[in-house]
Structures are given as structure tokens and as C-alpha cells.
Symmetry: C2
Subunit: 344 residues, 2 copies
DNA sequence: ATCCTCCATGTAATCGATTCCATGCGGTCC
DNA sequence: GGACCGCATGGAATCGATTACATGGAGGAT
């Protein structure tokens, strides 16, 4: 019952293994009747080429590695899904490594993927750049950063540019009369952690508003930290009027904390989030959020990586994010631009 | 800059490749000083064994395949995560295949995983059993079904038993005075599709309630079908008082439809779901749901699969699900047993 | 008829590891 | 001192594919 090998096919068809291989790879110089005999033998034996052997010989696995910081985060789930879709369209498989925001786990996955000799690596770095990752870059592993990146490392980046959307958000909040705006940021060691704070600060400045240190929450892109920092904000002598969470999980934690403290959104305090996810439509109240073109990011990143693998030189890309206004910061949504539930 | 191979290490350490291999696999009969010399060479060259070559020789990849029907479904995401965690603890990697509820895509992934010579396969079948999957079983591929399974196929199953929880749910609804209860079921070709309807019907019978055909919605585990069937229910001369969706995505669709029709939950109509997910706490209103021991399912399934791979004979397992009462069917939650946001 | 070319196919090397078997050497036992 | 034993190591086969090179035969040009 063991799997048939190319030798068995060759024997059964009365040809050499070379000929079988040629048929399988549709090499032009095989006589039609030979090809047919081989195909018949393949069929009869239920033969399937051994991918491992093939990979060893050809030095390519047609596999991409994707290392993300948290699979349970809907944003990354959607990213992973679009990556797999696009990769499959190009004949590649994807192995996902879940770093769970832990540098050590990220390194484990990178190493393990490299050991498996994946053809290329898509990474959303959890930290400022571990030796393992830097070594991989130096060794010339085809690599593309997605969502987050490492400044100063020569690797193409595919990401969303949230600056304009954050400016829009701040303008929206300002127009609603809010003046004391706080942010729960991600780890400063990640680009998405620091960048969103900077964009927020600049947008505030445009309206002559300050961003005091007390209004900067230091989160870690997990729900717990959103909860903690929100609680801290509420204990302030002058709590903020709106909390902007730099990702959806921290927004969730913030919501928990607000609910626990008995405050009503948006009546007592406003909430907005970076990352839009389907559930934000169904929360109480629906959450105003900045939507990234997630699926497009995944597809673009895969195309860039395949370009690198095949010897071309891909460009970095920054796709625009956009503001989706709902009800969590006050004032009902305007009649247009309300929902966001198209399925891609 | 190409990767060093075992030959390079052997040359650099002045030993044979056999000895290097012995060191790498911590074979006992290598002299300590030799071992040290080899390790030094490994270090100096930054050598990492080629997993592909190793797999070819040893005929094992230390990789598990997981084929699920929908990665974007939080239930499966959590399942995938726990599977990966447990597999990693046993020294295995996981390749996830997303079937997207499409039998053809499921087959694609099974075939592709088999070609890669994964050591074992975890499947949650999308349909009634394709030839590809049946062939894999017949060929003796180590396999375990998780969540859904194929009746009559001799493969261990790890799943949640929702019968008791569904009875509890119906009792709860009955106690609240609801009598006209409808269900949005999954495809009859899946076990979770048909089983939940049966359990629901039996539970209703215990209270002397019927389950008319008109109150059985035929969904496909996707949000769209939940929306469609809910709309159909509402058009009935006598619409149901509570809708029970057989999974979280269809519940989401139902919620959309109810909202669109201007009905308030639970005041005008009740909603309950199979599968509990973190977001159900934050929806408007929080949704009463049946929680599966998802992470435990994943871990148990992996252990069973590894048992099979290593020659033991694992048992099937059915872990109990439990009811989590919130506010979507009326009456505020009792002071105990309200929330459900522990993180594993 | 001779030679050249080209097509279909086979032979064998190769990818990078693991592992069986052979070998040489130092030490023990009688 | 010779036989034997066991340990550390090396040589070479092997896993299942791909592919460069060799080969033989058919057909065309002269």
C-alpha cells in the first residue's frame, strides 16, 4: 500500500524514469504514444510525484512563509487569507507562523521556515529586528515586509498609509467638539506602534491641540493592554473625551473597560480604532474606525515576494487607509459612507 | 553566500559526513572532542540542516496538515491556533488549508498536502466525503476528523457534543415564554449541519413543541445565508419568536437582517447561536450562545493524530459544549455565568 | 551510398541528508 | 603474546526526483 514512486511507473510503462519525468513535466520531446502509456501507468498506480524529492532536486519548494504577530486578530486573519489566495493563484502554498507578539516565537518560526527551505518569507515583524531575521536578510532570503517593517533594513515593504485617514479622523472629532483626545499606542519597537502616534500628534497639532504624555497609552496590541490603559485614562483628573486605539484588539479591551466603569459610548466618552473589522458594525455602539485595504495588502505583498523570488526587483508600496464613521464618537453617521461590510 | 551543506561542515571539521550527521542527531558513540570540533564548524559556517533532504531520507516531515472550512470564522481560527500550539509542543509544524466551504478547494488542499508528504492530516470535512479524501483514508494516511466528520468512515473523530447544551438552551427559551423557535441549519451534508437540527428538534419535542419545516432554514455556514433565511422567516405569516443559528457567521447574518428590518433584539425577536466567540459579548445586545471547548478540541485532535502517526490507536472523543446566557433572547443574564472572556 | 542532423529515449550524476557495514585501533583477558 | 571485543569513524548505498550527456535510428542532402 506504500506510495508508488517514479520507478514503479517507469517499470509499469516499460520506459526509463527519465521519460516518466519528462512526461510529468511536459517536456516537448516525448512521442505522443509514449506519453499516453506513461499517463496510463500513472493513473493505474495512482502515482503522485513526491514533492520532497522534487524540492531537493530543484531547490525550490513552491512554498511561502508568512509570519504574523497574532492569528486571532481579525486583521491578520484576513491578511493571511488573502495571502493564501494570491499565492495559490501563482502555484504556491503558504505556511503560517503565529508569533503571538513574542519575538522568541517569531524567531522560532523564521528558523523553522528557513529549515524547510521555503522560497520566500513574508514578515510582519514583532520587534525591532532579531539577529535571526537580520541573518536571513543578509543570507539573501527573498523577503518582503507586510504591515510592519524594520527601518534601515533593505527589504521591500507593503503597508497601509494611515496618515491621511488619521487626519480625517481628528478633523471629524474636532468638528464634533472633542478637544481632549487620547491614544492607546502599540509597542514603540514596531513601526505601526510609533507611526500611528506620530500621525495622531501631527493631526492634533493642525488643530492647535496638544498630545500630553498622560494621553499616550503604552499598549502591546492585545486586548488586556487596551483595558489597562483605558482604566488609567479614566483615573486622570481630566480624562480624555475620546480614546483612539491603535488596533482593534486594544479597542476591544478599551470597550470592556469603559463598560465596566459604567460609562456609555459615545454619550460619556468616545472611542475610535485603527483597523476596521466586520464586528465593529455590530458592537454597541458601532465603532468608528480606520479601514485598511487588508486583502489588497496581502495580494500586493505576495506579488512583490514572487517578483523577488523570480529575480525581479519589487518596489515598496503604501496603500491608503480610509476613515469609516459610525456612532462611537457621537453624532449619527451621515447617510453616505456608513457601512463597510462588502466581502473583500 | 549559498547555504552550507553537511559536506562543508565535514570538510571544515576534518571528519566525514557520517560523523557530522551523528553529532547532529546526538548519536552516543562520538568522542566528545570530535563533537566539539563539529559543533564549532557548524557554528562558524552558520550551518542548518536541510529539512527537505532530511525528510526525503527519513520519510517524515514532522508536519501536520489542517484543512478547515473557513479561516475567517473565529471558531476555526481559534481551532487552528490551538492546533498549532499543541503541534509545536510536540515538535511538529502545521500547514493550514482553507477550504472556504468549497469541496473543490478542500480537495486541492488535501492533494497538495499529501504531495508534500505531511505526516498526518486533520480535517473538518466540507462535504460528504470526496474521492480524494476517501482515497487518502484508504491509502492509510494518518488522519483525524475534527469538529465535523464522515459517518461510516473509519477515522477517529474529535468533536464537541452540543446535545445537552442545546437542550439547556431550549429549556431556557421555553422558560422565557418563547414557543415558536426556528433554526438556521448548516448544510445537511455536514455532520454539524444535520446533527444540530436533530438535537434541536428532540429538545423541542421534550417540551411538546413542533419544529415545522418552515422553521428550518437551510444555510451554508456563511453570513449571507443567515441573512437570507432570516428574511424568509420574517416574511412568514407567523414568524418565529427566536432564531437559533447553527454557527456564529450565520448568526451575524441573521443580526444584519433583523437590524435591516428594524426589529429590536430581544424585544421583538430573540437570537441565539451555536459557537461562542469573544465578540458576542460586545454586540448589541450580547448574544446567548453555546460555547464549544475549542482550544481543547484542537489539542485533543493533535494528540490523537500524533498517536496515530506513532503507531498507537487513538479513540474518538466528544467534549461537552455549554450554554452561555446573555441578553439576546430576553431577560437580563442572571448574576452568575454571564461573561465568557477568559483567554483559553 | 554516405554523412549529417535531429528526435526520442536511456544512463548516470546529483541534490543533502541518514544509516548499514567495514575498518582500524587500543585495551583486556588468559 | 595472541585472540578478542568494542568504540570511534569512514565509505558507500539510499531516499525519489531532475537533467546533462550519450546513443541509436530515421530521414534529408549531396
Amino acid at each position: 500500500m506504500a506510495n508508488a514512486s517514479i520507478k514503479d511507473v517507469a517499470a509499469s510503462a516499460g520506459v526509463s524514469v527519465a521519460t516518466v519525468s519528462r512526461v510529468l513535466n511536459s517536456h516537448p520531446s516525448v512521442r505522443p504514444d509514449t506519453r499516453e502509456r506513461v499517463m496510463a501507468a500513472v493513473e493505474a498506480l495512482g502515482y503522485r510525484p513526491n514533492g520532497v524529492a522534487r524540492s531537493l532536486r530543484t531547490d525550490q519548494t513552491r512554498t511561502l512563509g508568512l509570519v504574523i504577530s497574532d492569528v486571532m486578530n481579525p486583521y491578520f486573519t484576513e491578511l493571511a487569507r488573502s495571502v493564501e489566495d494570491e499565492a495559490r493563484a501563482h502555484g504556491y502554498s503558504v505556511i503560517i507562523g503565529n508569533a503571538d507578539e513574542q519575538p522568541a516565537l517569531q524567531d522560532h518560526h523564521i528558523r523553522s521556515l528557513l529549515d524547510r527551505r521555503i522560497d520566500g518569507l513574508l514578515v510582519s515583524p514583532t520587534d525591532g529586528g532579531s539577529p535571526v531575521m537580520l541573518d536571513a536578510v543578509r543570507a539573501g532570503t527573498p523577503m518582503v515586509f507586510v504591515d510592519r517593517w524594520l527601518p534601515g533594513v533593505d527589504v521591500p515593504v507593503v503597508r497601509a498609509d494611515g496618515r491621511a485617514a488619521i487626519r480625517e479622523l481628528v478633523a471629524h472629532l474636532h468638528a464634533l467638539g472633542h478637544r481632549r483626545l487620547a491614544i492607546i499606542a502599540g509597542p514603540a519597537s514596531t513601526t505601526t506602534g510609533s507611526e500611528r502616534v506620530e500621525a495622531f500628534r501631527e493631526a492634533l497639532a493642525e488643530h492647535g491641540l496638544p498630545l500630553p504624555d498622560a494621553y499616550i497609552g503604552h499598549g502591546d496590541f492585545r486586548a488586556g493592554s487596551g483595558h489597562r490603559e483605558t482604566t488609567r485614562f479614566l483615573a486622570l483628573a481630566e480624562p480624555p473625551q475620546v480614546i483612539f486605539a491603535a488596533d482593534n484588539l486594544m479597542a476591544l479591551g478599551a470597550m470592556d473597560a469603559l463598560r465596566a466603569s459604567g460609562l456609555r459610548i459615545p454619550h460619556d466618552i468616545g472611542l475610535a480604532a485603527f483597523d476596521d473589522i466586520p464586528w465593529f458594525v455590530h458592537t454597541d455602539p458601532p465603532v468608528t474606525a480606520i479601514a485598511q485595504p487588508t486583502a489588497e495588502l496581502g495580494r500586493t505583498a505576495v506579488r512583490a515576494l514572487i517578483d523577488r523570488i523570480e529575480g525581479r526587483t519589487p518596489q515598496s508600496a503604501a496603500l491608503p487607509a480610509r476613515l469609516v464613521i459610525r456612532r462611537s464618537c457621537g453624532e449619527p453617521a451621515p447617510p453616505f459612507r456608513t457601512e463597510n461590510r462588502s466581502n473583500r
